[in-house]
Symmetry: C2
Subunit: 333 residues, 2 copies
DNA sequence: CTAAATTATTGAACCGTGTCAATTATTTTC
DNA sequence: GAAAATAATTGACACGGTTCAATAATTTAG
């Protein structure tokens, strides 16, 4: 087996404390002892055991990233941002997918505790879940990702989803649409609830009527289901706003298959502005979020909190969404 | 601070050994003791400290996943598979993006060594790099992901890329195309080299002429660059085969913008069959790979190698690609 | 009902490092 | 050159689990 600190101490004729000092506080060791010990370390090919080190110090250089689904291109971008920023600070990232399930989320949090992560970046599966207080109690920093917190004792990096909902409706209203379908997702997801709030607020002001279609999951298969529901409505809306681009892709497919022309008959607007929007059957107009930047900022904030410990001022950073107009939205005929 | 094993033992009125047994060998503990201890664990919110555990056992329950780019939907799917399979076995996954750079890859391998991972799943950035031998020497299992190894002392899970290239050309040839453009990527990537080999082999047999366009990166921006190059060719090919779907999306956009009709004037075939292929401007025909399955299989194989230690038979598993025909390929007029 | 076999539980030793009060060696001061 | 100040070194203990030989409790056999 490979040499340990005691072996080095014995061979160099010093105590274990001195060897430990050579590794961690070389300045307190006399030059000639230092040299002798370092030579012995070299000879024995000694590499300190990370487990023992971390067990003693209590800290690791890892963070956990819990998102609802990395397969969603928005989160993929966020994840890249997190990973790049963490890597720059020499932190490794544990990737966890909660699949919007509270049970899975809790299971992963427990795994992350076991792994003794220094901090956790989390997009809560559910607005009610305050399970992450448990992490705090264990000295693990927590920052909310893509979710705002009213609680100022916590960092969060989010995008203004209320504003995003407003921008969407304002855009459609400006194009002359007065009857909009809002393809929403589970209202337990904070982002969705906020976008809905924005939609309703702007709709009231602009005097636009909104029909809500609720999707159970935010993927393109559920988008196709939503498309069917829209086609069955008594009165076809002239514009559709989807809670994310994946849903919008599904709706687009459903409508095109049914012979509905986009944007001639119906305008379609997505959310997230994922890279493929541009390559869609009808290039998709969307509400853009700075996903990569979100990840970078969140990771930097979290690591700063982990390391600055006491004198860290919690911040709630909020980015602004932006309209990206492509071919899928047009003025009402 | 949070509860440890001794606290649980005291509160439940048993010894530390028994609590440890409850965690690791529940079958040797009597049912009523088991229940009592589990209840106490629950009450105290006890989560075992991974470091301490690993220090004694010498092994961690983490693996590293090194891919060239998670933002590529193919790898995103693979990553999901890896994560789901690892999670089932109670392993946590470190995510690393090498961006096809050997330097970054080596940096990450070093980080993974520091983190004392039990095994590494890697898609080598470069066919030459045998840096992962260093890991082996440290007792870290390594399995190749999406790459075949000739070396039978190593596990690998791959897709038959040579066959993939063949299938593509056979398909296009069957549709009557005799003049094909092959939008390739860096030939240092083994997958690309294999696909090229398959293309050339099938082209020779089917008597098809191939013009190779080399993309520097496998993304859609480079696809647009490739489209420009194709438009500048003296003789326009009647079909284009791209090394992945992202490139194909770029090519599609480039051609459509130039007024070229797909598939009427040019057939376009991608590789990977990513989810968005179906939502593309022209639904994209593609060569499908079982990405999720690839990830699951690789993770299971790696963990089995980690745990079975001695009596583990190295396996080289190879999946077969499949043609998925959509609207972007058609018989030559 | 006792002896033997089986099952359950115990707790001290150990994994490999970091820490720090105590000890020893060296240098400075007058 | 002795006392005081400073620098260097020591080693037991802590971290929080796992392991395993020893012991205790229970079941089975005769």
């Amino acid at each position: 087996m490979s040499a340990n600190l005691r072996d080095v101490a014995k061979k160099a004729g010093v105590s274990v404390g001195t060897v430990s000092n050579v590794l961690n506080r070389p300045d307190v060791v006399s030059p000639k002892t230092l040299e002798r010990v370092q030579k012995t370390i070299e000879e024995l090919g000694f590499v300190p055991n990370g487990f023992a080190r971390q067990l003693r110090s209590g800290y690791s250089r890892t963070i956990g990233l819990v998102v609802t689904d990395v397969a969603n291109p928005f989160f993929t971008e966020v994840a890249r941002g997190v990973e790049d920023a963490a890597s720059k600070r020499d932190y490794a990232v544990f990737l966890c997918n909660s699949d919007e399930s509270l049970e899975k989320e809790n299971k992963y949090l427990s795994v992350l505790i076991q792994q003794q992560v220094r901090g956790v970046l989390i997009t809560p599966a559910d607005s009610k879940s305050h399970q992450y207080e448990v992490l705090r109690e264990r000295g693990i920093s927590v920052a909310l990702l893509d979710t705002e917190t009213k609680n100022s004792s916590q960092c969060s990096v989010s995008v203004d989803d209320v504003r995003g909902g407003e921008i969407a409706v304002e855009h459609l209203s400006l194009l002359g649409h007065k009857d909009i379908a809002w393809v929403s997702g589970p209202e337990t997801i904070p982002q969705i609830a906020d976008r809905t709030a924005g939609v309703m607020k702007a709709a009231k002001i602009a005097n636009v009527s909104v029909t809500t279609i609720r999707a159970t999951l935010m993927n393109s298969a559920q988008g196709e289901v939503a498309a069917k529901k829209i086609l069955e409505l008594k009165k076809m809306p002239s514009a559709i706003f989807c809670a994310n681009d994946l849903l919008a892709f599904g709706v687009m497919r459903g409508l095109l298959d049914a012979g509905v022309k986009i944007p001639e008959q119906v305008s379609l607007l997505g959310y997230d502005d994922i890279a493929f929007g541009n390559s869609a059957a009808v290039p998709l107009s969307s509400i853009s979020q700075p996903a990569y930047q979100l990840g970078v900022t969140a990771a930097e904030l979290l690591i700063s909190e982990c390391e600055d410990n006491e004198d860290h001022a919690h911040q709630q950073i909020k980015f602004q969404p932006q309209l990206v107009m492509r071919a899928s939205t047009a003025t009402k005929k």
